[in-house]
């Protein structure tokens, strides 16, 4: 193991790691941010030029194409998802033993694996 100890005192070392670490984490994610904000559109533009010829400007191929995808739609989707996530909770399903009984005859033995095998 290679240690990066700068101090013999653990607390001071801790502060250094704290500051350094935060800077690096921010640095890394800022790098990603910048790439996807500026780098990627340029890359896609270059790719398009290579494959289809230079008939488009950067702005046109900039990924902000789906302007039709408006706030109203997003809201609608959000509602739908909200509903969907909510409805998953009908606690304590009072399934009758009858329904379970069908399942019951399916343990332990190989022959019986197949009962499940068919269902999935």
């Amino acid at each position: 193991m290679t240690h990066l100890l700068l101090y013999t005192d653990a607390i001071s070392e801790g502060y250094i790691i704290l500051i350094t670490g935060l800077i690096i984490v921010f640095g890394g994610l800022i790098l990603l941010t910048v790439f996807f904000k500026y780098g990627l559109p340029i890359m896609l533009y270059v790719y398009k030029i290579i494959t289809k010829g230079p008939d488009k400007k950067v702005k046109e191929i900039s990924p902000k194409v789906n302007q039709a995808f408006t706030g109203e739609m997003a809201a609608a989707i959000s509602v739908a998802i909200h509903m969907y996530l909510k409805e998953q909770h009908d606690d304590e399903n009072a399934i009758l033993t009858i329904k379970q009984a069908r399942k019951m005859y399916s343990p332990w033995s190989s022959k019986i694996y197949s009962a499940y095998g068919n269902r999935f």
Partner: protein, 439 residues
């Protein structure tokens, strides 16, 4: 383009056919073959004779040269297992992998090429690790727990005693094995065949009769995992053949006609509490059974919690399938003739048959015994005692079939499931006890 490929191809082939053209000058033969390189004519000949030598040498590596009668017998056994599985539907998910495993394990090979299951470094040996270390059985139990509905047991807890009674088969076989000269740990492992539960048998034998443990007197226990596993699965597959005559022998026509009252409905809450409480009680009593019972009830909780259906589904489908495939083929392959065909194996098979008979009798007779204390429609149909041997769900189905023969309107399947699953719990507890005493 075409030309380039043509030239390239011809050049490549030139290298390959050099010897035929007699350009093989560098060769310095160290074999006895006298080489005649005088004319174009004889080059071919000499080369043929050398190649023939190579083939002769190679032949010594083939199965044809190394086959022993034991291998051929075991291959036949493997084919019979497959045949039984396909033709009669006897536990096909186990007999077919084991059968093909028996064949794979008995293909004759030269030792030292990392082919055999007992050779360190071979692929089969790595897969066999899960058997030797007892890892596969708890994973199978996880899936089984996620498959099993314990409702019938919760509804009628007293039927659990039938599962306990059938464990007589385990302990009696244990004693029989001692009489036949096996030492204590080996006898313990052999006894568990009477539990009629493949994974439990493999788990216990991998701990007690693994060819590694050393006894106080300095001897090493034998490796009996293969014979014990094969015996357990064989007799489980043969339950529809073994049990009916015993059941008819020990019950009267009148007893077989007894109709039992239907079990009560069981609430989801009870089903959720069952695995937790059963885990605590059984493993407090028999801590060495923890890997088996812990996983069994873990799987059952995944199934019954209502929140983890996804995990339960994986445990009872893909996970158990993968483990079943690996377990089956390696257990089968562990029957390599030179290790498997011994007097011990024969005795284990004989003891296994007896153990199934005793277990069945134990369950049946205990059901009749319980009837002495029960009245009216609480009385048990003693046939369901036979389901206490586990071999789930075959023995329960045998009970159902035998019951139907006596009274075509008497459906015993639901009732037989309770002792059936209790038998599994009982066998795991018994395995834990034996492990505590002898492990």
């Amino acid at each position: 383009m075409k030309k380039i490929i043509l030239i390239f191809g011809v050049l490549s082939l030139l290298v390959f056919i050099r010897p035929v053209l007699g350009l093989n000058a560098k060769a310095t033969h160290t074999t006895e073959t006298t080489t005649l390189t005088v004319s174009d004519n004889t080059v071919g000949e000499s080369f043929v004779s050398e190649a023939f030598n190579g083939i002769k040498q190679f032949y010594s590596f083939t199965g044809f040269a190394n086959a022993q009668s034991g291998n051929l017998i075991m291959i036949l056994v493997g084919i019979i297992f497959i045949y039984l599985g396909i033709k009669f539907d006897y536990e096909p998910l186990l007999l077919i992998p084991i059968g093909i495993g028996v064949i794979i394990g008995n293909i004759p090979f030269v030792v030292g090429n990392q082919t055999g299951i007992y050779e360190a470094g071979s692929v089969l040996n790595y897969l066999y690790f899960g058997v030797v270390k007892g890892i596969y059985p708890p994973l199978i139990f996880l899936g089984i727990g996620a498959m099993t509905d314990f409702s019938s047991l919760i509804a009628n807890p007293k039927l659990m005693l039938l599962g306990a009674a059938a464990q007589i088969g385990v302990f009696a076989t244990f004693l029989g094995a001692l009489y036949l000269g096996f030492n204590l740990p080996e006898a313990g492992a052999i006894g568990i065949i009477g539990g009629a539960d493949g994974p439990t048998a493999i788990f216990l034998s991998s701990k007690l009769a693994n060819g590694i443990n050393i006894l106080p007197d300095g001897t090493t226990v034998k490796n009996l995992i293969g014979p014990i596993a094969i015996a357990a699965y064989s007799y489980m597959a043969l339950v529809p053949v073994i049990q009916p005559p015993i059941m008819k022998l020990l019950t009267t026509k009148k007893e077989r006609l007894i109709r039992m009252k239907p079990p009560r409905a069981v609430s989801q809450k009870e089903k959720m509490i069952f695995p937790v409480v059963a885990l605590l009680l059984t493993t407090f009593i028999s801590p060495s059974a923890l890997p088996l019972l812990g996983m069994l009830f873990f799987g059952n909780l995944l199934k019954e919690s209502g929140r983890t259906e996804r995990l339960a589904d994986t445990a009872r489908t893909k996970l158990i399938d993968i483990v079943t495939i690996l377990l089956g083929v390696t257990v089968g392959a562990s029957t390599q003739a030179d290790i498997f065909i011994t007097k011990d194996s024969m005795m284990i098979f004989a003891l296994g048959a007896i153990s199934f008979v005793i277990a069945t009798m134990g369950g049946l007779l205990f059901a009749k015994f319980m009837n002495l204390f029960l009245k009216g429609d609480d009385k048990l149909n003693p046939l369901i005692g036979a389901a206490g041997v586990s071999a789930v769900p075959d023995s329960a189905r045998v009970v159902h079939a035998v019951g139907l023969k006596a009274d075509p309107q008497n459906y015993l399947l639901m009732h037989a499931m309770a002792p059936n699953v209790a038998g599994v719990i009982g066998s795991a507890i018994a395995a834990g006890i034996i492990l505590s005493f002898l492990g």
